[in-house]
């Protein structure tokens, strides 16, 4: 038989084959294989050398000093978690802390000294850096120009070197001013006549927290502490709940989250606080027992507050009179209540507003309850060395500073560059001991790089507004780059070259002081247990504990004897004038990552990404009321 194949048959067979293959799994299998083949990563995820281990330290990015549990492969941390039960952070970490291990590799990291002139950045070697610094130090002595050193974390062993340097050059040793809640506490403590006093904030003891602009729900204390306490309390009966009332001109994130947000015209905080005081005194709602036992000057203060009837407060602040009255009554019924003021990242409140806030805390009986007395972590004595005392930033006369030395841990949010710049002479040299070309590191005319976060063992005092003192000697998790010369070495060499002498470093002196004081307990993060400081055998044993990431926590401090002044001499007139004055313009607040303003390091790139790709960190809005009525 003859097989006759027409062209038509060929087409039919071909078409049938194509259709048959299309209906079979073959093309899908091919597509699948092709996609798998094309999607193979060019490189697998690199595995850092070494076995998996967990190590403990503390975060040095802001004063909260949270405990860190690092997941490490060999020497490389690849992730962090909080340490449950840690005395400084109680199991919290903020987004900044979670990315601390990225910072050593940040694109803005500097590892060599750099000189900036005419906007040009130029890498220099160690000898040039030493020469430039020593020449500037010598010039300060010769030409009688002021040398000033700004220290972001006073009380460290390195701080002693700075103080000695300031003393040797006749210069100034400047520490960051109190800001936010710390400023309110400092103002209040200064009114106490029973000796030096330090107060902290214990949110767990409060039922009402009034905040005049302090970002209490996002930034105060350890991350989320008040927010967590408040949320937990929401499931309790109404009489046991914690409520947060935010009073400010800008609806920032804390205001948006607060139980109540009371918008007021900018700069009218003093008038609003005096309005609350008026209602408390007028309706006899203030804490009479506390006022009798622990304050002076009630009559004068009552006369001042009497002038701030809610109707006048409404006129000045834009907040309705009924709101003022209701809030005062609410605070009186729901004690313990406390009042805090000022945003560390924005402009601080005026002295008058802080004075009115201090008086309000006294009327509410807040000291020693929600505002407990606290100690400080023991410090080493100064010894025989000549050391300069701390000076306030405001003591720097304009245009006076010829050489400014900025320590790496200074955050621009705490030491505003605008204020520092005013103090500089026209040809001043600004030396930044910073691992980054960012923040205050960016302002340097001479940048001397230091170790990045986690690259140095560092002494960390907890925040000054915590209810008790903490201290951690946070061990380093990373090693600094091989070619990095520690800033302190360059500083010492330059000092010697300028013919000045500095006392030798005194490592371990802080640990000795801690042991000698025999106060407090030590938290061991690996075991999640405490040991009494008195039970630690010696400095070596203490050193071992600190090398494991331990954190010291102070005992409770008893109430001291003495009284608070509701008003200081001549203050009533100043307060009256300020509270009756015109409101200021709306303060502009930038949207920021939590605590960014307090961190001396730039945020990790991952954080920048999240800011862009989620709805987080929307810019705060100016309140609707504001100056309309002013």
């Amino acid at each position: 038989m003859k097989l006759e194949l027409s062209r038509r048959d060929l087409f039919l067979a071909g078409g049938g084959a194509v259709a048959g293959i299309a209906l079979s799994p073959v093309p899908w299998k091919l597509l699948d294989d092709l996609s798998i083949w094309t999607q193979q990563p060019p490189t697998p995820t690199p595995r850092p050398a070494g076995p998996l281990a967990f190590r403990f330290t503390s975060c040095a990015l802001c004063p909260a000093s949270c405990g860190l549990k690092a997941r490490c492969f060999g020497a490389q941390p690849v992730g962090f978690a909080a340490v449950p039960g840690h005395p400084a952070s109680d199991g919290g970490l903020c987004p900044l802390g979670l990315t601390a291990h990225h910072l050593a590799k940040h694109p803005l990291r500097a590892t060599h000294p750099e000189r900036v002139s005419g906007g040009k950045r130029e890498r220099i070697d160690r000898a040039d850096a030493v020469a430039a610094l020593s020449a500037a130090l010598a010039a300060c002595g010769r030409e009688k120009r002021t040398f000033a050193v700004v220290d972001g974390r006073p009380g460290r062993t390195l701080s002693r070197t700075y103080r000695a340097l300031a003393a040797a050059t006749g210069g100034l040793y400047v520490t960051p001013p109190a800001a936010g809640a710390a400023l309110s506490l400092e103002t209040l403590a200064k009114r106490f006549d029973g000796g030096a006093l330090a107060l902290g904030v214990d949110f767990s003891k409060a039922r009402r927290v009034v905040s005049f602009g302090t970002p209490v729900l996002t930034d105060a204390g350890t991350p989320g502490l008040l927010a967590r306490l408040r949320a937990e309390s929401r499931r309790r009966p109404a009489a046991e709940r914690i409520e947060v009332i935010q009073v400010e001109a800008t609806r920032g994130r804390s205001a948006a989250l607060a139980d109540r947000y009371i918008p007021i015209a900018p700069g009218t905080e003093a008038a609003f606080a005096l309005g609350l005081a008026h209602v408390l005194l007028d309706e006899k709602l203030a804490d009479a027992a506390f006022l009798d036992a622990r304050t002076t000057g009630l009559a004068d203060f009552a006369a001042l507050a009497a002038r701030f009837a809610p109707a006048l407060v409404e006129q000045k602040t834009g907040a309705q009179a009924g709101v003022v009255t209701a809030l005062a009554r609410d605070l009186a019924t729901n004690r313990p209540a406390l009042v805090l003021g000022g945003d560390p990242a924005a402009a601080p409140l005026s002295g008058e507003a802080e004075a009115a806030i201090a008086a309000l805390n006294l009327l509410l009986g807040a000291p020693f309850a929600a505002l407990p007395v606290r100690g400080d972590a023991p410090r080493a004595t100064d010894g025989d060395a000549k050391l300069a005392a701390a000076t306030s930033l405001d003591a720097l006369p304009d245009g006076s500073v010829g050489l400014l030395l900025l320590d790496a841990t200074v955050a621009e949010g705490l030491v505003p560059w605008a204020r520092l710049e005013r103090a500089l002479a026209s040809d001043a040299l600004v030396v930044s001991l910073s691992p980054f070309r960012a923040g205050l590191g960016e302002k340097a005319t001479l940048l001397i790089p230091g170790p990045a976060p986690l690259e140095e063992s560092i002494e960390l005092d907890g925040p000054v507004d915590a209810p008790f003192a903490t201290f951690a000697f946070a061990p380093a998790l990373l090693s600094p780059p091989k070619n990095l010369v520690p800033g302190e070495e360059i500083l010492r060499e330059a000092t010697a070259a300028a013919g000045l002498s500095l006392p030798a470093p005194a490592p371990g002196s802080r640990a000795d002081a801690l042991l000698a004081a025999r106060r407090g307990r030590l938290f061991d993060p690996a075991a999640a247990t405490f040991v009494a400081t008195g039970d630690v055998a010696d400095t070596n044993a203490l050193g071992e504990l600190f090398a494991r990431g331990a954190c010291w926590v102070d005992d409770a401090t008893p109430e001291p004897k003495g009284r608070f002044a509701l008003l200081r001499d001549g203050e009533a007139a100043r307060l009256l004038e300020a509270a009756l004055g015109a409101p200021s313009s709306v303060p502009a607040l930038p949207a920021s990552l939590p605590r960014e303003a307090l961190s001396a390091a730039p945020p990790s790139l991952l954080l920048t990404k999240l800011t862009r790709e989620t709805a987080l960190f929307t810019p705060p809005a100016a309140a609707a009321t504001t100056a309309a009525r002013a």
Partner: protein
């Protein structure tokens, strides 16, 4: 209660995340921890806003009025009836009948993005750009999670690598079941306000099973029948009503 169309009954384990909206401050620690744990790259410079990869999105749901703002963290809702699975021509998404976890398989994904259209929660992202890790930052990557090349869809998988590690540990110890403490996703571990709880809802005595029955708990877009295993909880009835009805759109 939901049954999955992908299994005849509920899975033996039902890993569930409960988000307490009363506690969330929108601090972003969950999203940061997620990015660190899962090797999600920083946005490429050329990336415009909100086009990059993000597995845990935190949305501000209501801050315009005078009431307190609500922040809503949104990972993949790990649906029991996941619409994404059905539309994937590549079978690059799998519903694990043992755990209820909806797994994304990057090496199979063609990047057709049908799943992104099908997902009513907008929890999937397409990674448009080749990951660029700054010099040295590669050393900080989690070696338990691969780096994905561009062109695939990504989403939260409840840090399934941690489940695998817990299983390996349990099997090495000769135990049939994992220790629940060994399987905690990164977001839950990181939350400073303890707004996130995670666990096996099939364990009736567990905290998560209790929270799932709480009258204040609800699901996003509950009416769609997708059966999410991410539950939300709020003491505010208005927020519950609004979110369970309308969800949160990407924005």
């Amino acid at each position: 209660m939901h049954t999955s169309k992908h299994t005849s009954s509920l899975p033996a384990h039902r890993y569930t995340l409960v988000v307490d909206l009363d506690r969330c401050t929108g601090c972003g620690a969950c999203g940061t921890a997620c990015a660190v744990e899962n090797n999600i790259p920083p946005a490429a410079e050329k990336a415009t806003e909100r086009t990059g990869t993000v597995w845990m999105r935190v949305h501000e749901a209501a801050a315009a009025g005078d009431g307190p703002a609500t922040f809503v963290p949104i990972p993949c809702q790990q649906c029991d009836n996941p619409p994404c699975v059905d539309v994937c021509p590549q079978r690059a998404i799998e519903y694990d009948p043992r755990t209820g976890i909806v797994a994304q398989i990057p090496v199979r994904c063609l990047g057709c993005r049908y799943c992104m259209v099908a997902c009513p929660y907008h929890t999937r992202s397409f990674n448009w750009w080749t990951p660029e890790w700054p010099e040295g930052m590669k050393a900080t990557l989690n070696p338990d999670v691969s780096i994905r090349t561009r062109g695939v869809v990504e989403k939260c998988n409840f840090c399934v690598q941690r489940l695998q590690a817990a299983r390996a540990k349990a099997s090495a110890a000769g135990q049939a079941e994992i220790d629940p403490a060994d399987y905690v996703p990164a977001c839950v571990e990181a939350c400073p306000s303890r707004a996130l709880s995670f666990g096996d809802a099939a364990d009736e005595k567990g905290e998560v099973a209790r929270l799932a029955e709480d009258p204040e708990s609800f699901r996003l877009l509950a009416g769609l029948g997708t059966g999410p295993k991410v539950l939300y909880r709020s003491s505010d009835p208005a927020a519950r009503e609004r979110l369970s009805r309308t969800g949160v759109t990407r924005g």
